[in-house]
């Protein structure tokens, strides 16, 4: 009985630590893209049902972990259907124990914001934008990425003064 109680307490505290998933609008995205900052933003557009997206998630998680002490912010922007946020997205994030910030893109019409990310983005998933505003650098990828590619870019962008 005592054991069960401890288990319940442990799982309750784990639940409490499972991350919230904020809903963002295109204005928030715009703020991230325009913010005058020396933080490297790694914005990954994905969905729980997108197989290549799910495959590349560990690479982004590893960047988040390895560069925790640097000015690097990984944001996993979900484009799942809104009706699936509770039933699919939240359980997925919990099950995979994702540590990077996950947000939900609460915009029904992609035509209003896809070009904001990059005029070169056709809207296909997965897609990733890496931005370093102070260095005036924006790298856009409409394809699946691996850790080595990400690491090489982030490494360069986080070196002081270099580019």
């Amino acid at each position: 009985m005592k054991k069960l109680l401890i288990l319940l307490l442990v799982s309750a505290s784990l639940n409490a630590r499972a991350q919230d998933i904020p809903f963002i609008r295109k204005e928030t995205l715009q703020q991230w893209l325009n913010a005058d900052t020396d933080t490297v933003y790694v914005l990954n557009f994905w969905a729980t049902w997108c197989a290549p997206c799910v495959e590349e998630l560990p690479a982004f998680e590893k960047i988040h972990k390895e560069y925790a002490s640097k000015k690097v912010k990984v944001v996993l922007i979900s484009t799942d259907f809104k009706r699936n946020v509770e039933s699919k997205l939240k359980p997925f994030v919990k099950r995979k124990n994702l540590q990077s910030q996950v947000v939900f893109m609460d915009e029904p019409n992609p035509n209003n914001w896809v070009n904001m990310v990059s005029p070169d983005w056709s809207g296909a998933l997965p897609a990733t934008l890496i931005v370093h505003k102070r260095k005036d650098i924006a790298l856009f990828f409409e394809k699946q990425l691996n850790y080595e590619t990400l690491e090489e870019i982030i490494q360069r962008l986080t070196v002081d003064g270099g580019r």
């Binding site: 809104k82 992609p110 296909a124 998933l125 005036d136 924006a138 790298l139 856009f140 990828f141 409409e142």
Partner: protein, 191 residues
């Protein structure tokens, strides 16, 4: 310091822009017959849609494509659906599964298999669904999304594709020639 914006995409070619003349093709439909645009009788244009079986966005538009075809095919603008996905990357999009889906959904339009991915590459399709509206001379008049809300047909405000077809039918300029939608990246062959 100079601004550096670079984009990296898989290289399926540049594809068509609005105003380009699209190539015709001969692709197998779910009944085993070769279908070309030229072979479609009484067509005044073509609603070419790259789509597939597995993608939730494609699924969300199945009924809307059926409705579009039922409305516009009798007026000379049939839907011609093409699945360009590699079956080894996404087994749900195999030819056998296309047959099953077409039967289950009673697709009234041609559902074609672009096994070599040659047509998707020529058109510049990158995702499913991805629409190319062609006039009778196969000039591209609209590229993009079917409408502005993939998740919920009841919440659609802008019927981009239907509006473009209506404009074409009445001999007017298509007002919104290009739109973007989130879709599943086409599953290109590996290697």
């Amino acid at each position: 310091m100079a601004f550096a914006a670079m984009s990296f995409k898989p290289a399926p070619g540049n594809g068509y822009k609005v105003g380009d003349t699209a190539r015709d093709f001969s692709l197998v439909n779910v009944k085993g017959k070769q279908v070309s645009l030229a072979g479609i009788k009484n067509a005044k244009g073509y609603i070419v849609v790259f789509t597939c079986n597995h993608c939730p966005y494609a699924k969300a538009y199945e009924q809307r494509l059926i409705d579009l075809h039922k409305k516009y095919a009798p007026l000379g603008y049939p839907v011609v659906a093409i699945n360009p996905n590699d079956k080894d990357v996404q087994p749900q999009d195999s030819y056998e599964n296309m047959k099953k889906l077409a039967k289950k959904k009673k697709y009234p339009f041609h559902y074609l298999y672009d096994e070599t991915q040659e047509i998707a590459k020529a058109y510049g399709a990158t995702r499913t669904p991805h629409v190319y509206l062609l006039d009778k001379d196969r000039v591209v008049r609209y590229i993009g999304a079917i409408d502005d809300n993939s998740e919920d047909p009841a919440m659609v405000k802008e019927k981009y594709l239907a509006n473009a077809v209506e404009a074409l039918m009445s001999g007017q300029e298509v007002a919104t020639k290009e739109t973007k939608a989130i879709g599943c990246g086409i599953k290109w062959k590996k290697g």
